[in-house]
């Protein structure tokens, strides 16, 4: 609605008044930015810096849990997306943080991972040992299945483990299942019930532990508790 009934002078006055108001508003906003918002941003920045300095992956398992879970989710997101554009990385970070925040209470098993600079190296070494064992297991199994005599001598044996965390036991049990002639049946405390196809070399606990679990355990202990 335009004001046609007012004189041109009145409209000029109105324009000046609005200009003045705009100037005032601008000065007020600048002042409030200088006095309130700017310190707040600075304070927030300082807060972030302090939080960053407070991150202590060696001694605080909860922070370690958070960091490990976020990186895992982020890597999984990147693999699913398959591109490396900035927007995807940003959204992936947000989603990873949000997912970690949602599932934080149930991720206690991640605390048992030791984080050093050498952790990825140890994981790679473990994977190498594991893949070699998997290939040997399959060739061994193929030989047993294909030979007409079916050369098996199965038995249940017990194996002792020094790994204490549930995640470590899970990975050890999985590895035992996938390696030559062995299958984890049950885990009770630090004893693993293992079904062994070819149990000729020894039936007692020490022999079985030495033959089945020791090489994995040695590598797993480097990055798991």
């Amino acid at each position: 609605m335009t004001t046609n009934n007012s004189s041109p002078q009145a409209s000029k006055e109105k324009l000046e008044r609005t200009k003045k108001l705009a100037n005032q508003a601008r000065t007020v906003m600048l002042k409030s930015y200088k006095n309130h918002l700017m310190p707040r941003f600075l304070r927030f920045f300082h807060f972030l810096l302090g939080q960053y300095r407070k991150i202590d992956l060696e001694n605080k398992p909860q922070q370690r849990r958070f960091v490990i879970a976020t990186t895992l989710f982020f890597i999984m997101w990147l693999m699913l997306v398959g591109t490396l554009s900035f927007s995807e990385i940003f959204v992936g970070l947000m989603v990873a943080l949000f997912t970690t925040w949602l599932s934080y209470d149930r991720l206690a098993f991640l605390e048992s991972i030791k984080l050093n600079r050498t952790t990825p190296l140890h994981i790679l070494r473990y994977l190498q040992v594991f893949v070699v064992a998997l290939l040997r297991a399959n060739i061994d199994m193929a030989r047993r299945v294909l030979s007409p005599r079916l050369p098996i001598n199965p038995a249940l044996v017990e194996v002792q483990t020094q790994l204490k965390s549930p995640l470590g036991k899970l990975i050890l049990a999985n590895s035992i299942t996938l390696t030559p002639g062995t299958l984890t049946v049950d885990v009770v405390g630090d004893r693993l019930q293992v079904h062994w196809v070819d149990s000729t070399s020894g039936m007692d606990l020490e022999c079985a532990t030495h033959a089945i679990a020791e090489s994995f355990e040695y590598h797993l202990q480097e990055f798991l508790e």
């Binding site: 999984m76 990147l78 693999m79 699913l80 398959g82 998997l134 290939l135 297991a137 399959n138 199994m141 193929a142 047993r144 299945v145 294909l146 079916l150 098996i152 001598n153 199965p154 038995a155 249940l156 899970l170 049990a173 999985n174 590895s175 299942t177 996938l178 002639g181 062995t182 299958l183 984890t184 049946v185 049950d186 019930q193 079904h195 196809v197």
Partner: protein
Amino acid sequence: MTLIGNIFIVIGAAFLFLGALGLVRMPDLYNRIQAGTKAVTLGSLAVLLGVAFQHPGWLPKLFLIALFILLTSPVGSSTIARAAYSAGLKPFTLSSKEKKQSLGKQEET
């Protein structure tokens, strides 16, 4: 590239076949699970590797699939074995076979 992929897929299929053969030939549940788990895990990994050679763009997703197979397949077989163990299924042994035969003879007499 396609040739290498095809070779890997054939190797994977061969291992899957060996797994099925093991399921048929092995004497009891534990041994069948052993034959099944290992052969099927390596077979599917080899098939995934072959697909990765044929479509290099799918590599990250195939890696994720392989990771999930490596994590879940042993857990599943261990769970089946544990259920059988807690249900009281005795593992097949060579000596137990002989014992069974002798027991059967005793019952007969």
